[in-house]
């Protein structure tokens, strides 16, 4: 459904003429005339109003009964009164009713001071009670989950939390038990409410009934300050407000930005702030001395790094992880390229420059909000709830409220399958063949061969093509392809048919349609735009000599052609495939300089110099959202004593090599970056503002996007024949697919509240294969191939395609990258 165009009408409220969009709910329209109508159950984010709390009763001329302002759409010429005696009596009545069973324990309630019930009672209540009966009692407080505490006596039964669970996150866990005055909120089966988005109910609760367990009794609203920034724990880059007391982050709340997060947060974003103050955080520089990392003064660490870089004679490589800001990435490539003359810089973008330019073409970009209003969204090779969680909610909203048609094409079963009109499975690693088949279905080519190679059904591919082609009724409507950038690992074999598909769907230059790629790590897009890719400089400018990508760097280290590796917020043993290869490469490196917040395996074993990294709450700089929105990180708290900003360290290392960097603050780095990226021209941190800015929405900036070397790639791809590798035939073994859970991150490991969610290895397989192998659900198994093996627990999923097995990556022990694939065997674990 395309976005509706608002039409303004005039209505009268308390004698004031006010303009508002037709059919806007009265509660919202009233605000345009500076009139506040109190509400409890009304929350536009939750969808259609329910009119349950009755707090918003207003008098509308021509309607005999008082009406709920939350559910009455405003009409032209409507005359509304909110200050009459009748309305005031009604408001006082409802408040009196709400408070008769409320414990009024505000002095010991976490919500006290920031409580809508307090505010509304103060503003609209009668200020007295006539209720002398015993109040309603429940056992309290109870753990609704390890993260959320529930106090049912405080609950006013607005059932926002239940609606969130039922209609937003669709985990269907929270329900209302009993009825009438005995009603209470709980999970259907009495189990803890554990779900990826459960923490949102804390913020939704208009009273102190649902409180954060990690935040319970930590501060009162008058002790704290809120500081706006952006969460950098995943590519979703939700806008957050850090609650700070005495220079410590105590809480994270959503800082609603509809274009980015729609006002929601995932539980990782909400609770992983605890890692900022975790004991295991690295807060002092370290140098390997006698085989052991020892804390040293800053000067010593800088000196060590400087010497290492100098001695390498330019045989340096830089690798940046997702948490790296644009500025850090920009300075890293300056250090490696300009100062030490090595071309090897990468941030695992996975594509050569031409591919990045073609896929990043401003005309092809879709936004997060487009997902909600498109006619059809194709989710390709990604599990949003793990890869970019908040988008999962957006897709569900699109399907539920805007009748968006959802299609899913993945190798691993998706949690969005129940919402999808069509779900197609292909073999892990067969993205190229699958996309080729889909593209062929559009252009009338041979579908069967690539479909068979992709281990999928040609009929299903044809059905998907038909669905995309007719999404707007008779014609192709607005289609958004939401793809995980992991699928691009196949290079041109994937991008070419994908671009061809985009051409067939008319995505280029079409508002509300396009491609939206989910990078493997938070700032993937910003890093490539800042030039942290092997064959392009800042602004994706062409380079004279192309460097090696991550895999190439590993090879080069192993071969001894590169001796110093500079790691920026990444541990290759965690973040890169082929763990054994990297283990050897890191072993071979003479120096590994790392900016790191946590002592992950690769850092502990191989780093020679460790610079403590700032946490995301301390950082200043910019990052780029997957849809091209430049966002600003602002420090909420000061750094721990031993921590310095990464840009400062890079600056010092460059100065030590005799280069005048011209840097004074992080803003000067931002300015340098913006000046050297043509399509950021004219931007400053101030123009980004609090909510960021999509650079490609400005025509001049979009026009500054570099032309690919072969002009008009879209035109040329149509004639070229796609090539693809066929997926491996299981032949008794199983194809290895990988996935990274939302909970697989060092921040989750380091957060006491979230620790219980940190995943251990499990292998997902279909019951068909399990039966053949004689493996039962929950059994301990060994997954192996090529001499390596990992221990896992068998997890049988009915939806899992036969012939494939899925292992987790990104976990400390026994991660999927221990195995090289593409085939693995599963055996029962030897009992010891």
């Amino acid at each position: 459904m395309p976005r509706p165009e608002p039409q303004f009408i005039t209505f009268s409220i308390d004698g004031r003429e006010v303009q508002a969009p037709a059919n806007e709910m009265l509660v919202d329209a009233a605000k345009r005339g500076d009139v506040e109508i109190p509400v409890f159950c009304y929350e536009p984010k939750l969808g259609a109003p329910v009119g349950a709390c009755r707090m918003c009763l207003v008098d509308i001329e021509g309607i005999p009964k008082l009406q709920t302002g939350c559910s009455t759409p405003v009409k032209d010429g409507m005359v509304v009164h909110t200050q009459t005696k009748r309305v005031k009596d009604a408001q006082e009545s409802v408040l009196e009713f709400l408070l008769i069973n409320h414990p009024l324990d505000c002095p010991v309630c976490d919500k006290g001071g920031e409580c809508p019930l307090q505010d509304v009672s103060f503003g609209w209540g009668g200020g007295k009670t006539r209720f002398i009966e015993p109040k309603r009692h429940f056992k309290k407080p109870l753990e609704l989950s390890p993260l959320v505490a529930i106090d049912r006596e405080r609950c006013i039964l607005c059932y926002r939390c239940v609606r969130f669970s039922q209609e937003l996150s669709e985990d269907y866990q929270l329900v209302l038990h009993e009825r009438g005055a005995a009603t209470f909120v709980g999970t259907f089966d009495g189990h803890p409410y554990v779900a990826p988005f459960s923490g949102n109910i804390i913020e939704l609760c208009p009273v102190g009934a649902l409180t954060s367990r990690p935040y319970r009794f930590r501060a009162r609203p008058w002790d704290i300050e809120n500081s706006g920034s952006v969460c950098t724990l995943c590519p979703a880059q939700c806008n957050v407000a850090f609650t700070v007391r005495d220079d410590r982050v105590l809480r994270v709340m959503a800082r609603d930005n509809d274009e980015v997060d729609d006002g929601w947060l995932c539980d990782k974003g909400r609770f992983a702030y605890q890692s900022v103050h975790a004991e295991q955080r690295i807060v002092a520089p370290m140098v390997r001395d006698g085989g052991v990392l020892r804390e040293v003064p800053w000067a010593r660490a800088i000196e060590e790094a400087t010497l290492a870089l100098k001695k390498s004679g330019g045989r340096v490589a830089g690798l940046a992880g997702g948490a790296t800001t644009n500025e850090e990435g920009f300075l890293l490539q300056r250090l490696v390229r300009d100062v030490h003359g090595s071309p090897h810089v990468d941030s695992s973008a996975g594509l050569p420059r031409a591919g990045l330019l073609a896929m990043g073409d401003p005309a092809l970009q879709a936004t997060v909000a487009d997902l909600e209003f498109a006619h059809t969204v194709l989710v390709l090779g990604t599990e949003p709830v793990d890869d970019m969680p908040i988008v999962d909610l957006r897709l569900r909203k699109g399907v539920r409220r805007n009748r968006m048609t959802l299609a899913v094409a993945t190798s691993r079963p998706s949690s969005l399958d129940p919402n999808a009109v069509l779900s197609v499975r292909y073999a892990p690693g067969a993205e190229a063949a699958f996309v080729a088949a889909l593209s062929a279905a559009f252009y009338g080519g041979d579908v069967d061969t690539p479909a068979r190679a992709a281990g999928t059904d040609a009929g299903a591919v044809a059905e998907l093509a038909a669905l995309l082609r007719t999404s707007g009724g008779d014609e192709a409507g607005d289609v958004v392809v939401l793809y995980g950038e992991r699928v691009l690992a196949g290079g041109e074999a994937v991008t070419q048919p994908l671009l061809k598909l985009a051409g067939a769907l008319g995505l280029s230059g079409r508002a509300g349609a396009g491609l939206l790629g989910i990078p493997a790590a938070t700032n993937g897009r910003g890093l490539r735009e800042a030039g942290v890719v092997p064959d392009a400089g800042p602004g994706l400018a062409e380079l004279a000599t192309a460097g090696a990508d991550a895999a190439g760097i590993a090879a080069s280290l192993t071969a001894g052609d590169t001796t110093v590796l500079y790691l920026m917020h990444t541990d290759p043993l965690r973040d890169q495939p082929q763990r054994a290869t990297w283990d050897r490469a890191l072993d071979k490196a003479t120096h590994v300089i790392a900016h790191a917040g946590f002592m992950t395996e690769g850092i502990r074993e191989h780093a020679t110099v460790v610079f403590p990294a700032e946490s995301y709450a301390e950082k200043e700089g910019t990052i780029v959202h997957p849809d091209g929105r430049l966002q600003r990180l602002r420090p909420a708290i000061g750094r721990p004593a031993g921590v310095r900003a990464a840009w400062q360290v890079l600056d010092e290392l460059m100065r030590a090599a005799g280069v005048d960097t011209g840097l004074h603050t992080v803003h000067s780095a931002t300015r340098q970056l913006f000046e050297s990226v043509p399509f950021y021209a004219g931007l400053t941190v101030d123009t980004l503002g609090g909510k960021g800015l999509r650079w490609w929405e400005d025509e001049a900036r979009a026009a500054a996007w570099p032309e690919p070397a072969k002009p008009g790639l879209l035109a040329t791809v149509a004639s070229s024949t796609p090539t693809y590798e066929a997926a491996a035939t299981p032949n008794g073994a199983l194809r290895l697919g990988t996935f990274k859970s939302i909970w697989a991150s060092p921040e989750v490991e380091a957060s006491p509240a979230l620790k219980f969610l940190h995943p251990t290895q499990r292998v997902e397989l279909s019951p068909v294969d399990a039966e053949r192998l004689g493996i039962r659900h929950g059994e301990h198994v060994t997954v192996g191939g090529d001499g390596a093996s990992v221990a896992a627990v068998a997890h049988l999923r009915n939806e899992s395609p036969a012939g494939s097995a899925f292992l987790q990556s990104g976990i400390p022990e026994g991660a999927a990258n221990v195995l090289e694939g593409p085939l693995v065997e599963i055996r029962k674990a030897q009992s010891t």
Binding site: V50, L157, R179
Partner: protein, 440 residues
């Protein structure tokens, strides 16, 4: 009785079977005539008959049917057989003895509404009636009266009987729809009204058993003839359920406009023990009470509304002079407190507050000031709720306090003295049971 329409053959043995129902003229010319009329003509006929909904709200049945949008979307007819208003048991007799009359009415009602799917939502406690309906529906299917192309016409209708799970609120039409969809039975916000967005978001016509069962008779005698029965704005006959302290309680079919005195003293033979009437509910327990001074009122929609009450579901509950109004009030409030769904604030909190106050009156811990609070709580509920359940308690309770205040006050005084005496007695006998009840 000469006026009997619905109950004309009601005691005919075997009327619940298709054969006997057909013998008595069922599923005959009337059905054929109805299905051969254009849909609009049938609706006009219903509008002209003046037939008003028999479930409680008394809205014109024809008009409601005319609100159904045209178009090819899935439309539904739902028969509200969740007869749960205390004092009401007329639909029960109708469904037990003449289920086919309801089915025939639903075939015609569905045709008028343009619906091809229909449900009978019957309260769970009516297990026997549900079985009877199931059998009747099966018979009707076998005879080609339900299913595709009924009697060779273009009209098709699928009819299913659905048993409720025992909640009063599921008789409220939107809560009924939620319950029918398999959700928790909570009322929905209106608008949208069911005629626009009802069952499964489709246009839905919801009518009471008696209303639907009347349709064949309206068609049979013609709208103009039917409109001649009864009085202006209250045409036709009405099934009434009389209960309470009368000599002959039960279901009666009356011509609307008959006087209440004729019903209570005529049809029902007066009050047990020849006592006086203290109060009576004219239309189920949700209707504000009337007193013995109101017995000469004509029993029709408008007259009762003018007297500050309502005809409701046609359930007359008579309370004699020896019964305490406080007991009646508490019994009633407890029912509504128990049945409140809890979705909206005034009903959820107001009903339980009222019960707590009435219990305090009974235990002798109240003062006359509590009556003011109780009366004001009823006012605070009325008109502020999501559905009518809150009003259904507030209006009768409010009317009892207004009309019987001296009795309430006397009761409070008496209960207080009794409780004081008990307290003193317990203090005089220290070795007796521990001091509970009056102080706690």
């Amino acid at each position: 009785m000469s006026s009997a329409i619905l109950f004309k053959d009601i005691d005919q043995p075997g009327l619940n079977t298709l054969a006997v129902y057909r013998e008595r003229g069922g599923y005959g010319d009337v059905l054929r005539k109805g299905l051969s009329m254009p849909r609009e003509a049938l609706v006009t006929e219903l509008v002209n008959s003046g037939l008003r909904g028999r479930g409680g709200a008394g809205f014109s049945m024809g008009k409601k049917a005319s609100f159904m949008p045209k178009g090819t979307m899935d439309k539904y007819l739902v028969c509200n057989a969740d007869e749960s208003e205390p004092g009401t048991f007329k639909d029960r007799e109708l469904m037990t003895k003449s289920p086919h009359m309801l089915i025939e009415g639903m075939i015609l009602g569905a045709y008028a509404a343009g619906a091809t799917r229909a449900f009978i939502y019957i309260r769970g406690e009516y297990a026997q009636m549900a079985d009877i309906l199931d059998d009747a529906v099966a018979e009707a299917y076998d005879a080609g009266l339900l299913g595709n192309n009924i009697l060779g016409t273009d009209h098709s209708l699928e009819l299913a009987v659905h048993r409720g799970a025992g909640a009063y609120i599921c008789g409220e039409e939107t809560a009924l729809l939620d319950s029918l969809e398999g959700k928790r039975g909570n009322p929905r916000l209106k608008p949208p009204f069911p005629a626009n967005q009802g069952l499964y978001q489709g246009p839905t016509l919801i009518n009471n058993v008696e209303t639907l069962a009347t349709i064949p008779h309206v068609l049979g005698m013609g709208a103009d003839e039917y409109a001649k029965i009864g009085v202006e704005n209250s045409t036709g006959t009405k099934l009434i359920s009389v209960s309470g302290h009368v000599k002959r309680p039960g279901n009666y079919e009356i011509e609307l406009g008959m006087s209440a005195r004729d019903i209570i003293y005529g049809l029902c033979g007066g009050i047990e023990g020849d006592l006086e009437v203290k109060l009576w509910f004219p239309g189920g327990s949700s209707s504000p009470v009337l007193t013995k001074d109101d017995l000469d009122l004509a029993y029709d929609f408008d007259t009762l509304a003018k007297a500050g009450s309502m005809l409701g579901s046609g359930a007359i509950i008579v309370v004699d002079e020896e019964t305490s109004v406080v007991d009646v009030c508490l019994k009633l409030a407890k029912f509504y407190k128990h049945e409140s769904c809890g979705k909206c604030t005034p009903c959820r909190e107001g009903t339980q507050w009222t019960v707590k106050m009435l219990e305090r009156i009974k235990s002798g811990q109240a003062t006359p000031m509590d009556l003011d609070i109780m009366a004001s709580v009823q006012e605070q509920i009325t008109g502020h709720c999501l559905c009518v359940l809150g009003d259904a308690m507030a209006m009768p309770v409010g009317s009892m306090i207004a009309k019987f205040r001296p009795e309430f006050e006397a009761y409070i005084e008496e209960a207080r003295q009794r409780s004081d005496a008990e307290l003193i007695a317990s203090l005089d006998a220290p070795n007796e049971a521990p001091l509970v009840g009056s102080l706690v």
